[in-house]
Amino acid sequence: MEDCLSKKIEITVSEAEKRTGRNAMNMQETYTAYLIETRAVESQNEGQCSPVDSLWRRYSEFELLRNYLLVTYPHIVVPPLPEKRADFVWHKLSADNMDPDFVERRRIGLENFLLRVASHPVLCQDNIFYSFLTQEGGWKEMVNETGFQLKADSRLKALNATFRVKNPDKRFTELKHYSDELQSVISHLLRVRARVADRLYGVYKVHGNYGRVFSEWSAIEKEMGDGLQSAGHHMDVYAASIDDILEEEEHYADQLKEYLFYAEALRAVCRKHELMQYDLEMAAQDLTSKKQQCEELATGTVRTFSLKGMTSKLFGQETPEQREAKIKVLEEQIQEGEEQLKSKNLEGRDFVKSAWADIERFKEQKNHDLKEALISYAVMQISMCKKGIQVWTNAKECFSKM
């Protein structure tokens, strides 16, 4: 942990700016650029402020970075980016990417992403990541030069593996189920939360109408007038208070959202394991069949049906020289195959070991973060209640003076 980048430099995403430019298809587009600022963390003794380095990046560059990390470190649960499009919104929030509130929340999410990567023991040491933070020009080319896109597993291949793998590590199977269920439950939670927010907004805002009618009523009253009028003012305060309350709650929702997306990252690690395991199983199967072929050729017995066997039966046997040649080729392939199998096995075991280590690290982080988030939920409720008690107590006092 002492080696973590986050201990050495301060990272902030401090600003967001609207820009226009030309995209890959040479069409005009508007996008938002984010300012990343980095500063070396000073030791206590020096007491000087080191200079701030800064550069601008847009969301697509963050995406590129993350994809690179996903491919390069498939055994790591890679921190997620904030959502691309506003999802789970309730009516007051806009779903427009250019909306200032959305941009602001995205800025915070991007900063959070960078901090997560910088505090990860493995990821923080990556050069591409470091360059992302410090090297403005030529970074894109640098990433592409790593050729990570070529290493990426195809989606189809991964899906195929998921269905056909025979002996995946049990822990990964369980983890896969867990991450699926987690995704499902958090999605559900966020959807309902948005509806709850909507309704609560309605309740508070209608109270604002009391303000107006009490004011109108107070005009025709003598002794009751003042009390009514001032109570009406408190109703207005009550109605207005919901805006701050819901803004705070949005922050809580964002914390849950991060883990919704983290579930996808967990899933990705499981998929990689399945793929590797499937690969291994296929390689083993291939080796077995080659050995069998070799044996059949050597002994002349056909134990299993093969096209080769059929054609030789139909069109005559091969010459002993031909057979010798074939056996030689097969024996070479078998040797290669055995070596490959060994290394694949090793790879597989290493992957399982390091992935599981990161998963344990992730579990700790998740439990810690979510417990904190749930505490903040309770604190928010308390704060909302105290505000409510205050307003209604004030109103009650006004009524008592009627």
Partner: protein
């Protein structure tokens, strides 16, 4: 009222050849004052000698006959403009409680127990307990309107209930109605004139009210209503300022109450929709808790907290429906019936002015003022006096009622937030313990 028997009302003695218009009005104060709760009685008014004393006189010294229900009641009203019933002087207590369902072949209905405790001479016994149904209350109100047309009669809860929408026999509905009926009788009890009304007496005491109802009808048709104020057919040129002001006030007042009613209903509706969503929200945390190990307890805690919030919210909405809205509606009904009384007053004044004009044109009748015109004047004066006194009483009661109602509304909201706060605090407690056990 000992002078209840209908005899011929004797005319007010005339003060001489002055024209009626020049006679000092018994309640002469500045005529252009606004109607408001601070209607101060003329300093000339004397506090009562005994009510039973037949030698009552007007402040200007003219003796008055108490045999006419109209004049004596108005006099009593005028003499007791101050808040006359504090705890010590109160001698009549009425309560409505104990609703019971009766199932008969023809119908099903609810009766309420009406308990009376009193030291008044008008009652034979110190205590009574009778059972009455809504019909009976309705009958009483009609009788009071008929026999005391110059007074503001408190409203009853709404008579008709849309079947199928509201359950007439549900606990909530019955309780709401009971409270309103109790309020109705208490308002009558507190009124210095209405509480002495004989129909009210019978309502509180008679074992068989139906028999009295039938007998009452027969009596009436024999004697004719002794006080018949609904003259009809006369058009008032202009309402005196103070009554016009009351009319305008009542118009705006009931309008504002209507708006408040709609807002309150809308809030209840929004709260119930919020409740629906909360009911789905809580359990999702539970489901999540089922997936987790370390997070199970905090997540379950949130679920429970939301559950408690739901319960508290339900209670709040119920309270508002049952306690707040009915009182608002009562006052809207009250305003409506008060406007009708104002109209009746206008009628009486119109009749008087018309007859007076007719007299002024006939020169032979002067200087002697015909009796029926004098009676009209008397009626107008009494009506105005009664109405003003009742208005002031009404304003005071209204102020107290609304202060209590609105403070109650604030209280219910405070209680709701306190309940939710409490459950959130204990949730935070669990969470923090859970957190610190692991990471501190």
């Amino acid at each position: 009222m000992s002078g209840g028997a209908a005899g011929t009302a004797k005319a007010l003695p005339s003060s001489g050849p002055k024209s009626l218009r020049e006679m000092p009005h018994p309640l002469a104060t500045s005529s252009s004052e606004e109607m408001g709760p601070a209607l101060t009685p003329s300093p000339d008014l004397l506090l009562p000698r005994s009510i039973a004393d037949k030698d009552l006189s007007l402040p200007n010294g003219t003796p008055v006959d108490t045999s006419s229900p109209a004049s004596s009641s108005s006099l009593l009203n005028r003499l007791q403009l101050d808040d006359d019933l504090d705890g010590e002087t109160r001698d009549l207590f009425v309560t409505v409680d104990d609703p019971k369902k009766h199932v008969c072949t023809m119908e099903t209905y609810i009766t309420y127990r009406v308990t009376t405790k009193t030291t008044r001479a008008e009652f034979d016994l110190p205590e009574y307990s009778v059972r009455r149904r809504y019909q009976d209350f309705d009958w009483l109100r009609n009788k009071l309107e008929e026999s005391q047309p110059t007074h503001l009669i408190p409203p009853l809860p709404e008579k008709f209930v849309v079947k199928g929408v509201v359950d007439r026999f549900s606990e909530e509905f019955v309780e709401t109605r009971r409270k309103a009926l109790d309020k109705f009788l208490k308002r009558i009890t507190d009124h210095p004139v209405l509480s002495f009304n004989e129909h009210f007496n019978v309502f509180l005491t008679a074992k068989d009210l139906n028999a009295y109802k039938k007998q009452g009808m027969a009596l009436l048709s024999k004697m004719g209503e002794s006080v018949k104020y609904v003259t009809g057919g006369y058009k008032l040129r202009s309402r005196p300022l103070e009554f016009a002001a009351i009319g305008e006030y009542l118009d705006t007042f009931s309008l504002k109450l209507g708006t408040i009613d709609r807002i309150a209903q809308r809030i209840i509706k929004e709260q119930l929709e919020y409740l629906v969503e909360l009911r789905e929200y809580g359990p999702v945390y539970s489901t999540w808790g089922g997936l987790e190990v370390e997070l199970a307890e905090p997540l379950e805690g949130v679920s429970a907290c939301i559950g408690n919030c739901c319960t508290a919210l339900e209670e709040l909405s119920e309270d508002m429906s049952e306690d707040f809205l009915p009182v608002l509606r009562e006052y809207i009904l009250y305003s409506e019936s008060m406007k009708n009384v104002l109209k009746k007053r206008d009628q009486v004044q119109a009749e008087y002015e018309a007859k007076l004009e007719a007299v002024a044109l006939k020169k032979e009748e002067r200087p002697k003022v015909p009796t029926d015109v004098e009676k009209c004047q008397d009626r107008v004066e009494c009506f105005n006096a009664d109405l003003k006194a009742d208005m002031e009483r009404w304003q005071n009661n209204k102020r107290q009622d609304f202060r209590q109602l609105l403070m109650g509304m604030a209280d219910k909201n405070i209680q709701y937030y306190e309940k939710v706060c409490g459950t959130a605090i204990s949730l935070a407690g669990i969470q923090v313990v859970c957190f610190s056990l692991r990471w501190c």
